[in-house]
Amino acid sequence: MEKTKRKGAVIFSKYTRGEGIKRLLSISREEVLFELRDSKLKGRGGAGFPTATKWNIVAAAISDQKYIICNADEGEPGTFKDRVLLLEYPELVFDGMVIAGYTIGAKQGIVYLRGEYEYILQSLEDYLAKMRSDNLLGKNILGKEGFDFDISIRLGSGAYVCGEETALIESLEGNRGEARNRPPYPVNTGYMGKPTVVNNVETLASVPHIIVKGGEWFRKYGTDRSTGSKLFSVSGDCGRPGVYELPWGTKISELLDLVGARNTKAVQVGGASGICIPKSQFDRTLAYEDAATGGSIMIFNESRNMLHVLKNFMEFFVEESCGQCTPCRIGNTKLLEGVEMIEKGDFTFSYINQLKELGRTMQVASKCGLGQSSPNSFISILENFKEEIFNGNGGAHGK
């Protein structure tokens, strides 16, 4: 598809449908976990939790029922790589879920599909039907006694917070989409109170490759702490926006060249909840240990007003906070009000500094990742672009 601008050597390497599942006929759960641990695969949703560790906890748990949930609630602004995977490479995602089910001992997998992706639901259902008729799903998969697994797809209803795994589980259970307290974590007490693995679409799509080609092969790509490759959803001021598969450790400047970005002033890495990187730091690398991202790369050139960019992000969070915890519900509103004060030139620096302090409180005191990361852009844009915002031509002058 046109959106996929660069197919890299890992996710988009050759893979035959069902190949990973066939491999399971000859290897044990322990061997799957070994390869996964060897690959050092980390969660692709953004948080970067080691996948093998997550699976291992659920595999070791004693429970009559376990679940594997594919988090396809791709809601981070500027992210669209999961959609490409689901549309063009469903075999990777679903085979990954079957492998997960086999490994952790789950009989049921659930895809939590973003509500706005309803239009791809039918094609996914058709694909699952085909898997069932080919015995890649269902009872005694590929003739292996007791290897039962099936996948159902559930649609979200448009709340950004439901991409947070515990809010996603609440939503799946029919409750209001709100993050749970942790601990206990979903690996212990997840969907319907049972041990549950929640993985991002891309994480699951990496798994079949690792099972077929080995953890060592996977580790050849990327950096020591960020192995394999990453799909980046590139948007904004560049000649060739789209999905790119690049090894972890790619420099921001390299990526900008590749996508045909010119006169770039800033790159927002990690979506609205990520950080805004100024030109002076374009030699930073995209990796868990440096500029981490779930995939969103937004490029802003010299013509953009960074205060407007920030306002846009803050409006998003004011709307998308689930509203349960105080720091996130009211804090984001206060940060947005601060941006509007700067916009009008009606502010004091001491108040803006107080808001930055508030942002730091939100980062540590909010209940879930939404509130903990929503002040990131407020803090990083006001820090990194203070010249432009406060002193530049047409910039705001506080009291």
Binding site: V161, R176, G193, F317, S321, C322, T326, I330, T361
Partner: protein, 638 residues
């Protein structure tokens, strides 16, 4: 997972708790932790908040409540845990590993101050004119943390219109801080599910079904949400201005009846600890305020026992002897919250409700008939007030069918909190009042009427009379000191069997015209049950629907509020399991101190059947004045 039956309101959030070990001496039963560099050891699964409390370290809370499942939403209780990037909500964090906790680090103090500042920026804090002034948890926190300015602004105008549609509960959402205690109370504790968070982000608010006024949704008026609200977002519909006006009007004869639970709790409003009964001090105070007569609701509680007990005997007689189709088990009907709960959720069972009115409404009907005649007062000039622990009583006295005296039987239901404020407004310090007695002609009542205030009390009172009626023996000979211990305590659902045996006594004169003898009860086993809090009531009702063991019961006591009336929605705030326990102890202690402890021994009750209700219990006149009917409301209101 909690089971979600089709009638179950959605759980507010799955309660996630770590089971504490039964034996903490087992390996791993205790966890060693450090709090503020002090080494302590706590049982596995203890929350950080509990651990701190156990070790004398105070942590502020807002969304936490001892009665409710954990929410972890206000974030005021955050603490620092070494090695963790973020602060942890101490109310929600179960300790399962050794950890080092700091409860007052700079980061923690800054975060708490920020959270208070944020809440104040959205809370419509008109503290002077607020009924929670001085008793508001947010106000207290602001004081504790030395808030001297509104860092992030302050609301000058209310954001929402006050919802005064309900007779019982007033909602002022401009004062709501979204701690969701009311939501958890309504959904998890009471399983009514009228309140839930609506919308998200900045627009989040607590709403009702389709944002209808509270009077138009299936609220049962129990007021438990009021008891748990940290601010003044929820309060009872206060009639004290009208009552003052009546007191000040020389043409009005203002009487008040007082229920047992307010008497056991009102001292809390005057700085006494829980569990100080103020019955006789209150009599004096009420007289000084200007009430013309003070009566004891326990008198009609005793009357309820006779009427409701007779009704039960008649139902059993019809079912067992005449083989008629009657609704059994019989349900108590004293709790107006429970009655409305049943009318909404189990309307097909309204025939099981005893037709006997609640003690409040029986008294209302008698005051404007029997008492008016005796005292020679035109009932039109009588203003009848009921001091109740209850917000649903306000709704009950406004039910259109409660006009059997020809007037509104009870004019105003007043809560314990409202009464305390009236007393304070009159410049009276209740605990200093001399003691005085109730007024005649109703005088003193029995301990059986008194224990109506605690869960299981109605049943205990009924059983004290029933065993004496049927077995012809003293209740004391069957139960030590006539205390029926299995019916006491705060277990959600209680069940008891009383075998009648082969020896029965003579039928007492009072009901001799209704049943000829007790032979038909020989060898029978009386099966009874007690539930408090509508979530527990629901357990019994669902069991009955499914044909379980409770469907074989003969008589079941239901109270809408946890703990019974002593935990009612009109009682002093705060409420906790310990406070309710102490109130119950006060009530049972007072009962035991009385000579008169059985309803049928109450001389005034005997007298009223001799002089006024001369055809006896469940007769035509008693039905006219003391019994009522119910409405099949269902769960959907047009």
């Amino acid at each position: 997972m909690e089971s979600k039956g089709d009638l179950r309101a959605p759980v507010s959030q799955t309660p996630l708790v770590v089971e504490k070990p039964k034996d903490t001496s087992a390996i791993g039963g205790m966890v060693s932790i450090e709090i503020n560099e002090k080494k302590v050891s706590v049982p596995l699964g203890t929350t950080i908040l509990e651990a701190c409390k156990m070790n004398g370290i105070s942590i502020p809370t807002l969304c936490h409540h001892d009665d409710l499942c954990v929410a972890g939403v206000c974030r005021i209780c955050v603490v620092e845990v070494e090695g963790m990037r973020t602060l942890q909500a101490s109310c929600a964090y179960p300790i399962t590993n050794p950890m080092k906790i700091k409860t007052s680090s700079p980061m923690v103090r800054k975060a708490r101050r920020h959270i208070i500042d944020l809440l104040l920026s959205e809370h419509y804090g008109e503290c002077y004119s607020c009924f929670r002034n001085g008793k508001c948890e947010l106000q207290n926190l602001a004081k504790e943390y030395g808030v001297d300015s509104y860092t992030f602004g302050h609301v000058e105008e209310p954001k929402y219109e006050v919802d005064k549609s309900s007779y019982s509960v007033v909602r002022d959402m401009s004062k709501c801080i979204l701690c969701k205690r009311c939501v958890r109370t309504c959904i998890d504790l009471q399983e009514v599910g009228v309140l839930e968070a609506v919308d998200r982000g900045d627009n989040t608010h607590i709403g009702t079904f389709l944002e209808k006024p509270l009077a138009d949704v299936i609220c049962i008026n129990c007021g438990q949400c009021i008891n748990r609200c940290p601010t003044a977002a929820l309060r009872a519909n206060d009639p004290s201005d009208e009552i003052w006006a009546a007191i000040d009007d020389p043409t009005k004869h203002v009487i008040i009846q007082t229920a047992p639970s307010p008497r056991a709790a009102i001292g809390e409003e005057f700085g006494l600890g829980a569990g100080h009964s103020m019955t006789r001090e209150l009599n004096t105070a009420l007289k000084r305020i200007g009430f013309d007569k003070v009566f004891d609701t326990n008198f009609t509680a005793d009357l309820t026992i006779i009427e409701e007990g007779t009704e039960l005997i008649l139902r059993l007689y019809k079912a067992l002897v005449k083989k008629e189709d009657v609704a059994l088990p019989q349900f108590t009907s004293c709790s107006p919250g429970w009655v409305k709960f049943l009318e909404h959720y189990y309307p097909e069972y309204i025939d099981n409700l005893s037709s006997a009115k609640s003690p409040q409404q029986m008294f209302g009907a008698l005051i404007k008939t029997f008492y008016a005649q005796r005292a020679g007062i035109d009932p039109a000039n009588i203003v009848s007030v009921a001091l109740m622990p209850c917000s649903a009583k306000k709704f009950e006295c406004n039910r259109p069918e409660m006009h059997d005296s020809g007037y509104k039987d009870v004019d105003y239901g007043l809560t314990t909190r409202e009464m305390a404020r009236m007393i304070k407004e009159a410049g009276i310090n209740l605990p200093e009042m001399p003691k005085s007695d109730f007024d005649n002609p109703f005088g003193e009542a029995s301990g059986a009427g008194l224990i109506f205030g605690a869960t299981g009390g109605v049943m205990e009172a009924a059983i004290r009379s029933v065993v004496e009626f049927v077995l012809g023996k003293k209740a004391e000979d069957i139960f030590e000191k006539a205390n029926i211990i299995p019916l006491r305590g705060f277990e959600g659902v209680k069940y008891m069997e009383i075998p009648i045996g082969d020896k029965v006594g003579p039928v007492p004169d009072l009901i001799k015209h209704l049943v000829p003898n007790w032979d038909w009860l020989k060898g029978a086993v009386l099966k009874i049950a007690v539930a408090h809090g509508t979530a527990n009531a629901k357990k019994i009702m669902d069991d009955i629907k499914a044909g379980g063991k409770f469907s074989e019961c003969h008589f079941i006591e239901f109270m809408a509020c946890p703990g019974g009336c002593l935990g009612g929605g009109g009682q002093p705030i705060p409420t906790t399991p310990e406070i309710r326990k102490k109130r119950a102890e006060a009530i049972y202690a007072e009962d035991e101190s009385l000579e008169l402890r059985k309803s049928h021994d109450n001389p005034h009750v005997v007298q009223i059947y001799q002089e006024f209700l001369t055809e006896g219990p469940c007769s035509h006149l008693s039905h006219e004045l003391l019994h009522t009917h119910y409405i099949k409301r269902g769960r959907y209101i047009a």
